[in-house]
């Protein structure tokens, strides 16, 4: 009996990393602070200890507090903070405790010092409430304040400003006045020197365009039909009571009821916005029209775009391809690439809001690393743990995932989005791709006269289909095998070797 054994194989070679001792260096020659590097990379005279930076006193991370601005930054090494005249603390210092800072009819959830600073910038009294422990509660407190007209005498004239009851009655010096809740300064009954105008204005922290009275105060939301409406210039109207409150009013010349979440915001008129019937401000449309994928998106929406050649989520991404997240910012489509070598993938979902659906995308880590170690379909497809796909019937002989193995689960587990490899340098790519090496022994039995006896065992291994299937698994691993690149061009080489040899003859 004669046995002819043939095989296709690539040898594996593993390398072990040589680990050298590092030091925690206070400052490197390249100017970085607190890095674990080789001793020779440390700047002359800089402190260095053969330990992790976290274990040193000078590079230990903590909170850096800026007493001038009242801001706190975490994860700052002690020496970096001190060098910048900050106050370093291992744990959160009391100065970094947040509270609610009321700034007129606005609010900020900040530290006390920051609150003082912001109030100072706005010329307001500091109103800080440390009892409020969440940002939402803080914002609600500001919204819930009574607002109205504050009438006071200034330079022998009865004038007025729009503010909160607190600012009006507790304000400093001659800014104290009589408060009229819900009234506008232009109200005739207040008998002030403020009256209606055709001018409009934008307010800090507000989306909408507002009418402006002759004293420069913001009145109600701009509505061209209410220009001479006495009631509209007398009583404060809510956003819902104002024009077209259910839409964003982007580039509307007649209604200034802008809605930032809906994609419009108060801006000065320009060639791109068109003109307002009155005044120089308009609800500028911030949404993106006809983006790269042909769809329209709202300002702040983000979505995934994969226009590289090849496919995604099917285990055959093209070489050099990567994921992109697109964001609509102020009417402009801005691209953000996810990590190189497809170490991140773009994921997308929709948020359901009162204004409709809002697409949101993010670059998320591609968890392909332990795919080939999974032998069961259920583990392979566990999306809580990894991003892999199950290929039934396939095998990876180099990893002993073969039909004959005891723990063979009926297929192999491969990355859903294949990792990119630096195949042009180093030997990792070769080692990694070698996981797809396979050897098939075809057994042909001949009789004494040299005639083939029966069907050869594994004869299909000699066929093109077998070769293509194995090359496919090769590609499913990463930048291995006969891939195309991200613009769709094939490589100059086949991407794999097939060796057919006579194994032995008895």
């Amino acid at each position: 009996m004669i046995l002819i054994l043939m095989g296709v194989f690539i040898s594996l070679s593993f390398t072990s990393a040589q680990i050298k001792d590092n030091v925690c260096c206070e400052q490197t020659k390249t100017g970085f602070y607190c890095l674990n590097v080789q001793s020779s990379e440390c700047k002359e005279g800089a402190r260095q200890l053969p330990t992790s930076c976290e274990s040193t006193s000078y590079c230990k991370k903590g909170i850096c507090y800026d007493s001038n601005e009242g801001s706190c930054v975490d994860n700052t090494p002690q020496l970096v903070c001190n060098a910048n005249e900050g106050m370093w603390s291992e744990t959160v210092p009391a100065q970094c405790n947040l509270g609610c800072c009321i700034l007129g009819d606005q609010a900020a959830f900040v530290t006390l010092v920051r609150c003082k600073k912001l109030s100072g910038f706005l010329g307001l009294q500091t109103y800080f409430n440390k009892g409020i422990t969440s940002e939402v509660q803080c914002v609600m407190t500001a919204i819930g304040q009574e607002k109205g007209a504050c009438v006071y005498d200034f330079e022998f004239e009865r004038t007025c400003r729009m503010t909160t009851r607190y600012e009006c009655t507790q304000g400093e010096g001659d800014k104290k006045g009589e408060f009229f809740v819900g009234k506008l300064c232009s109200a005739e009954e207040l008998a002030t020197n403020c009256g209606p105008t055709k001018e409009t204005t934008c307010l800090a922290g507000r989306d909408e365009v507002y009418f402006k009275d002759s004293c420069g105060n913001a009145a109600n939301i701009y509505d061209s039909s209410k220009l001479v409406d006495k009631n509209y210039w007398t009583n404060m109207k809510t956003k819902l009571e104002s024009c077209n409150s259910n839409v964003a009013n982007g580039n509307s010349g007649s209604c200034g009821n802008c809605d930032y979440l809906g994609g419009s915001y108060c801006r000065e008129v320009s060639s791109s916005t068109g003109k307002a019937s009155y005044g120089n401000y308009i609800c500028a449309d911030l949404n993106c029209k006809k983006t790269q994928n042909g769809k329209d998106y709202n300002h702040g929406a983000s979505w995934c775009v994969n226009d590289d050649k090849g496919t995604i989520n099917k285990g055959d991404n093209s070489v050099g391809s990567k994921f992109f997240k697109h964001i609509c910012i102020n009417g402009e489509e801005v691209l953000e690439s996810c990590a190189e070598f497809r170490q991140e993938e773009c994921i997308e979902d929709k948020l359901v809001t009162a204004k409709g659906e809002l697409s949101q995308a993010a670059c998320r880590v591609n968890r392909w690393q332990d795919c080939t170690a999974q032998t069961e379909k259920i583990d392979c497809e566990n999306t809580d743990r990894r991003d892999c796909l199950w290929k039934p019937g396939a095998d990876l002989p180099a990893l002993k995932i073969v039909a004959e193995a005891e723990d063979y689960g009926g297929g192999v587990c491969l990355p859903k989005n294949t990792p990119g490899l630096k195949f042009w340098e180093g030997d990792e790519a070769q080692t990694y791709c070698a996981q797809a090496n396979t050897q098939c022994i075809v057994t042909i039995t001949k009789d004494l006269f040299g005639e083939e006896k029966g069907q050869p065992k594994n004869k299909e291994c000699l066929e093109d289909a077998w070769e293509q299937e194995k090359a496919g698994i090769c590609m499913n691993l990463g930048d291995c095998g006969p891939h195309i690149n991200w613009i769709g061009d094939k490589g100059y080489k086949s991407g794999y070797n097939k060796t057919t040899s006579k194994y032995s003859e008895d």
């Binding site: 390398t15 990393a17 040589q18 050298k20 490197t28 390249t30 100017g31 970085f32 602070y33 890095l35 674990n36 590097v37 590079c59 991370k61 850096c64 800026d66 601005e69 801001s71 930054v73 975490d74 994860n75 700052t76 090494p77 970096v80 903070c81 910048n84 005249e85 900050g86 910038f121 989306d207 930032y260 300002h299 702040g300 983000s302 964001i327 910012i329 102020n330 402009e332 801005v334 953000e336 690439s337 996810c338 990590a339 190189e340 070598f341 991140e344 949101q360 993010a362 880590v365 690393q369 990792p419 990119g420 490899l421 340098e425 180093g426 990792e428 790519a429 080692t431 990694y432 990463g478």
Partner: protein, 273 residues
């Protein structure tokens, strides 16, 4: 009768008005002629505002502004550093890292926690010499125009505040020429939205150091005029370009946090070791 009486009274008043007007015109004309004569003869000794035409605040603003704007731009282009130390090269430009790790799979260590403070420090280094020179020039200008000037040590300070770059000239001046004007100092303001960009950068650095990345959309909720552009490089570095869509001001910096190697990264780990 009644009507006629009223009319006659009216006519009488009108004739009186005409005479009065004439008198006023003559007086005004004489005053103007005398004033012009006085100005012409004694103009060197008159310490009037319109004669000197020198508005100290405006003078200082015009003098210092050409230095401030380019300096802000240079610093903003380099994360607040005149000469970046720890940087990455992007399109031939050095971009300073504000947060960095040389390892894979780990978040970065903050390299500059107080972005605004550092920006002001560097801006002072760039602008102060010019600002002090401007102050000296102002004094010289006053002296040239015949004023007696008394001043203390010349000093200035640049700070960044919301919506502005503020240059404080902390030099009290006493300017005398018949009358004395006292100035405790001068403040020159220039519109700039760099303050917000600096604090956003600081916040992003904190995000990067905690989570390894930041979400641009989060900042858009709070800052309608903000545009964030992130460029990822093959070594895991992210270059941030923050800009104000209205003023077009920009602030650039780099961060390397939670970087991933190609494949399992055994080659890179070997290199790093």
């Amino acid at each position: 009768m009644q009507k006629n009486y009223k009319e006659s009274i009216l006519c009488k008043n009108m004739s009186l008005n005409k005479k009065g007007q004439m008198t006023i015109f003559i007086i005004v004309a004489v005053v103007i002629v005398l004033a012009l004569l006085f100005l012409f003869l004694f103009r060197k000794n008159i310490p009037s505002l319109f004669e000197s035409g020198l508005n100290p605040n405006e003078y200082l603003k015009q003098c210092v502004e050409p230095e401030v704007k380019p300096s802000v731009e240079i610093l903003a282009d380099n994360a607040g550093y005149q000469e970046p130390q720890a940087f990455v090269l992007s399109e031939g430009k050095k971009i300073q890292y504000l947060c960095y790790t040389n390892n894979y799979y780990e978040t970065c260590t903050v390299q500059q926690p107080l972005t605004k403070k550092n920006f002001e420090k560097e801006l002072n280094l760039m602008v102060k010499p010019r600002a002090n020179r401007c102050m000296k020039n102002l004094i010289a200008e006053y002296e040239k125009r015949g004023y007696e000037v008394s001043s203390e040590k010349i000093d200035s300070e640049v700070s960044v505040i919301p919506g502005k770059v503020l240059i404080r000239f902390n030099t009290p001046l006493i300017v005398t020429k018949e009358i004395t004007n006292k100035y405790s100092g001068f403040n020159v303001e220039m519109e700039s939205e760099i303050y917000d960009l600096l604090f956003i950068a600081q916040s992003i650095v904190e995000y990067e150091s905690t989570y390894g990345d930041s979400a641009s959309e989060l900042y858009l909720q709070y800052y309608p005029n903000l545009k964030i552009e992130k460029t990822k490089m093959s070594d895991g570095t992210t270059i941030y370009k923050l800009s104000n869509v209205i003023t077009k001001e920009e602030f650039k910096f780099a961060s390397r946090s939670l970087a991933w190697p190609a494949g399992y990264g055994t080659d890179q780990i070997k290199e790093a070791k």
